[in-house]
């Protein structure tokens, strides 16, 4: 028998939905700066039917530009909410908050979404997912040790090399991306200090598209991780290596990253959302 969610859990669930909407709004504002067909948040706020305009805008970005893995879940959340004057008023508050956040590039680099998500962890609703938030100081310490302890890591050029091979960092339970974000910051700093010729944008593109891998069984957490990484340097990227993985499915075949213990292949059926570009990929475990 299914257990009924408590009022507190419902509150957390809807707050999390709101967080995903804010997150997607911030992202769409950044995309709007480079694409005149995408309305800015100021333009959206002028609309009489805000919900519909936001949905149209995100749909356009997904179809014509990209960012489907990041925007689709927020679009689905919004579509599942019934239109009403109350929702319209509340959405306006979210848009205004997103507007203030998006106007500070410096602010966006501080894992805001991860920190607020930590406060909203969904209690009973995610009890069986064993969610645990990695604190920012702990993530920073781990990342500093990983990047700065003596090793063959070389970040002078792009891609950074480890043992002569292009560097890849994998977090098998990445959640909202706190640890991957800390690793990003350390690699960025190391490149700035050691490189003869700075290639900051290329480094960002490599890290997002190839270098930083993340898996989790919570789709919305992966969505937040993708945004957190993208916002370090909001330039266009073509893909990411963040995947929401299946868990359960009746016969217990899917156990998220634990499946890599039996095979290092990331097969299409393991992935809950997003696509595996170029077929099956191999993951070093």
């Amino acid at each position: 028998m299914k257990q009924t969610s408590s009022a507190k859990d419902i509150h957390k669930l809807i707050s999390t939905a709101g967080l995903l909407i804010i997150d997607a709004l911030v992202l769409s504002e950044i995309i709007a700066a480079r694409n005149k067909e995408v309305p800015t948040l100021s333009i959206l706020l002028q609309s009489a039917n805000l919900k519909k305009e936001i949905e149209n805008s995100w749909q356009y970005i997904i179809k014509k530009i990209n960012y489907q893995p990041v925007l689709q879940i927020a679009l689905d959340v919004l579509r599942n909410m019934s239109a009403s004057p109350t929702l319209d008023k509340q959405l306006r508050n979210l848009v205004e908050l997103a507007y203030d956040m998006a106007s500070s590039r410096v602010l966006l680099r501080h894992d805001l979404f991860g920190r607020i998500y930590h406060r909203l962890l969904l209690g009973e609703l995610v009890k069986y997912y064993a969610t645990y938030y990695t604190s920012i100081p702990a993530a920073r310490l781990l990342a500093r040790l990983l990047v700065n302890l003596p090793s063959t890591l070389d970040a002078k050029d792009v891609p950074p090399k480890y043992g002569g091979e292009p560097l890849r960092v994998v977090d098998f339970a990445c959640g909202s991306g706190t640890l991957l974000s800390a690793v990003y910051k350390e690699l960025d700093t190391l490149h700035r200090i050691s490189s003869e010729r700075l290639r900051i944008d290329e480094l960002h593109k490599y890290l997002i598209e190839e270098g930083l891998w993340g898996f989790d069984v919570l789709h919305h957490a992966v969505h937040l991780a993708a945004t957190v990484l993208f916002l370090h340097n909001p330039i266009p990227v073509d893909k990411s290596k963040l995947y929401a993985l299946r868990l359960g499915d009746g016969d217990g075949r899917y156990l998220g990253s634990i499946n890599f213990l039996t095979s290092p292949k990331l097969s299409g059926d393991m992935v809950l959302a997003g696509q595996i570009a170029g077929g099956i990929e191999e993951v070093s475990v």
Binding site: I10, V77, S82, H220
Partner: protein, 193 residues
């Protein structure tokens, strides 16, 4: 040279210092990594304060550093007048006895906290200070950067807006459908126990 002196005379007491000198524009003059906090020092001759401010804003917005130090060499002319080709030891002595107008701008000033706090956050400026004061102010600015929970007010405001959103929209949200959208599934108990 100034960065090396700052490192030797005090910064190393705070932790590991890595210096990276400019290899040409648009890079900063000097980048110091102090325990993971990136500090840029930008120096100019007198009369170029506004250019220093603009440059520091750019460094912080471009994520080059967490703290930018603006240094205006007040008695720069004296250096030029006394020696046509000053050697390293002369420059070192000159810097240690130098007079500076200095400013510290951290990422905190660029976060736009005035939106959240209602108070303007400005950079700090000190005029006609000596080398020891420059070092002391720099160490204070570093401690402020690592010690302040600058994001706290933003998180509090986000929490407030999200609480209100959840409270007001709860009656019109289909919880089961939202759980499905977020792909959250609860375990189904096999018995009623």
């Amino acid at each position: 040279m100034l960065a090396e002196l700052l490192a030797d005379k005090g910064l190393r007491a705070l932790g590991e210092v890595i210096l990276r000198k400019s290899r040409g524009r648009p890079e900063p003059d000097v980048l110091i990594d102090l325990n993971g906090v990136r500090i840029v020092i930008e120096g100019k001759k007198p009369g170029m304060w506004n250019e220093l401010v603009r440059q520091c804003e750019e460094r912080l917005d471009d994520n080059v550093c967490d703290l930018c130090v603006m240094v205006e060499y007040v008695n720069f002319e004296k250096l030029l007048n006394e020696r046509l080709f000053p050697d390293q030891s002369y420059i070192k002595k000159f810097l240690l006895k130098g007079v500076y107008n200095i400013g510290f701008m951290s990422y905190i000033a660029r976060v736009g906290l005035d939106r959240w706090l209602g108070l303007p956050v400005k950079y700090e400026k000190y005029e006609n200070v000596g080398f020891d004061d420059l070092l002391a102010y720099l160490m204070t600015a570093y401690n402020k950067v690592v010690g302040e929970d600058v994001i706290g007010p933003v998180i509090a405001e986000m929490k407030k807006v999200l609480d209100e959103f959840a409270k007001n929209t709860a009656p019109m949200v289909n919880v089961e459908r939202l759980k499905e959208t977020l792909e959250l599934r609860e375990r189904e108990d096999e018995t009623d126990e």
